[in-house]
Symmetry: C2
Subunit: 396 residues, 2 copies
């Protein structure tokens, strides 16, 4: 007698769990060190020491009822101000606490703003491949997700495909930059072309199409690639952020929404987001960790380690003849299934004790995702297994 919709939820979850359980079975059978688990985007690099120092300092220096108590639902004003000023320094913006809503991770923020923006049946466009949880977020806000197929050459968004996908019900373009699962970073040029299409089509359909930019991987970029600040290119942009990756705090559920004053419905939109965040049950972002990230805004997780992993895995796999999207950001490698069948490829990988996530889960069959937020040693140990896998496909 559960809600009928629950059937989908449970089925979706069980695919991930099946993989998890298979991983556990393999680990029990062969030893954990002989299983090459690239399935999870869980940072393996500890949070910078500054974070735990900041937590201790907050406990030592600030009042318990303040640190653990309710604050205004949008978050502590001083924390929001510090986040705004940090953005201002980095992107030349002029935000204040009035633009920053502290959220329960990026996921909490995305759910909140989608609920603010979408009427039932409103459409949200995404470029495939995309983070599969977006399906639930959009459906939870009563909207409809409209994926645009991937460009298999570049895995960059195609502005002309976007133009064709827009309908009078389009309300949001949901981007993820740097991208999970491809590791691609969208360049300013591409984003400017997207902005031009959205400006034109917003005028045509008579209401703004918002960009919602999901940016938990903003600081995880390599080779001096830069990640454009989209609100500078398009006024109706809301940015969702999380410290899950940049400070290795995914379990803490701490992030923010940045709602610039350039958004058409500002400031009502901000007030609505605060109310929705409260009534969806988030209430506020966890308090102690809000205060700790304020003291850790300059800190970063050790990105060098991810970069070393990225280079070793990319070189290792391409040397073996696998084809991958050029990985510029995040900690994912997006690998083509040699014969285009990602289901079989992931299964064959498992026979060699390699765990990879099928691209079909990201709305893009024919590929698999490898998360390289793992020990460097595991990557090196995995290469002989990949070599065997390559041989099965007669690569090179």
């Amino acid at each position: 007698m559960l809600a009928k919709e629950m059937e989908t939820y449970i089925t979706g979850g069980s695919a991930v769990r099946a993989m998890f359980e298979e991983g556990a079975r393999l680990a029990a059978k062969y030893g954990r060190e002989n299983v090459y688990d690239f399935s999870l985007g869980n940072p393996n690099i500890p949070a910078p020491g500054a974070v735990n120092d900041a937590i201790r300092a907050v406990l030592d220096e600030e009042e318990s009822t303040f640190v653990h108590g309710y604050m205004t639902n949008a978050g502590y004003p001083d924390v929001r101000r510090a986040v705004a000023e940090d953005l201002n320094r980095r992107f030349g913006t002029d935000y204040s606490e009035a633009n920053i809503l502290m959220t329960v991770g990026a996921a909490g923020g995305l759910n909140t703003i989608l609920r603010v923006l979408l009427d039932p049946e409103d459409e949200v466009i995404v470029f495939a491949p995309y983070f599969s949880e977006y399906n639930f977020y959009v459906r939870g806000a009563r909207g409809v997700i409209r994926p645009i197929p991937a460009d298999p050459e570049t895995f960059r968004p195609d502005p002309e495909a976007l133009r064709k996908a827009i309908t009078p019900r389009t309300k949001v373009l949901l981007l993820n930059n740097p991208n999970n699962p491809t590791g691609v970073v969208y360049a300013a040029e591409t984003l400017r072309a997207i902005a031009a299409v959205l400006t034109e089509k917003s005028a045509e359909i008579g209401h703004p199409i918002y960009i919602l930019s999901d940016e938990p991987y903003r600081e995880l970029v390599y080779d001096a690639v830069s990640v454009p600040w989209i609100p500078a290119l398009y006024p109706d942009t809301v940015v969702g952020y999380s410290w899950s990756k940049s400070l290795s705090l995914p379990g803490e559920r701490i992030g923010y929404l940045c709602i610039p004053a350039s958004c058409a419905d500002f400031p009502v939109m901000f007030d609505a987001a605060v109310a929705v965040s409260r009534t969806l049950g988030f209430v506020n972002a966890p308090s102690l960790i809000q205060r700790a990230v304020m003291r850790s805004l300059g800190a970063r997780t050790d990105i060098e380690a991810y970069d070393r992993n990225r280079q070793a895995l990319y070189k290792g796999l391409t040397d073996l003849g696998f084809r991958c999207a050029p990985p510029q950001g995040a900690f994912y490698l997006w690998v083509q299934a040699p014969d285009g069948d990602d289901v079989t490829f992931a299964q064959k990988g498992m026979e060699h004790r390699i765990l990879m996530v099928r691209g079909s889960g990201f709305g893009c069959a024919g590929y698999v995702r490898l998360a390289y937020c793992v020990s460097h040693d595991m990557i090196l140990r995995s290469l002989p297994a990949f070599e065997k896998l390559a041989k099965e496909y007669n690569l090179k």
Copy 2:
């Protein structure tokens, strides 16, 4: 171009904010110590020292990637096991980690389980007065809330009124025990009568009606009153809990759902709740504080201080001729507006610099709620102001 529904959200929020702002204006004009703010349920008693000690110990003793990382979405298995065992000791139950889902506060848990249980237009019964946020939680889960009017003599639920309110669409009876806003604790006898009605009507309508018991105030009871463990009285009961009040951690957003194996749809219901908690954007309860509450399960906030406040305020107001529901739990006093007009009563209170929340916000006009989680000194200082208010109504 926001979602149309946002109008309600913003209007609801602005009533609370208007009061907040009026309080700030009065404080600026007369000094904070001359404003008697009984409006907010924000614990004024610090968390027991054991909590901050536990946080420090977790940081010192446990791995950073473990403490701040993803765990299974339901929460750390050892934390869930410890919570289950704590319940087993206290209530003679036999729960395990399979029954405990760690949540982002009680609000996160309630939103999750309502989404699991309700199909669109399914009905949720509440006894007025009730926590006004329930309106949003039920609507967010696409259900319809059906309040049963209060019994103005006892403010206890009336099982016969419940029987009449049940329809074939009734899915949930949402209780809050001890009660916000009345401070009343529902006795075992009443709950048994409710269980009998639900058992009978569930059979009649052909599906279980669940009790969802929201119990953040479970440990805040006075005069040795006991709070019955409802799953022992009715099998289809889910309990939502939060450490917001018992450990004074409302900002930390940490609670759990207890889903007993006696629930008709267990264990599918548990799996569905985990998936819904993830996809609504909670993902998991904040990690560090999960580990800290596990080490603080025996600790309690200083309830004596609330009790002292309760007695002083109850005696002070009843001596002046005000009528209050007998306050046995939580930290609220539920006071009748002398002429039945709570809007005017709250306004007149404000003229004497007393901030009270109108009962109409709790679906029960004619009353106001006073939160006595404030300094004892403020209560004593407020009594002369209440005396002037009593004179305006010619009490006694």
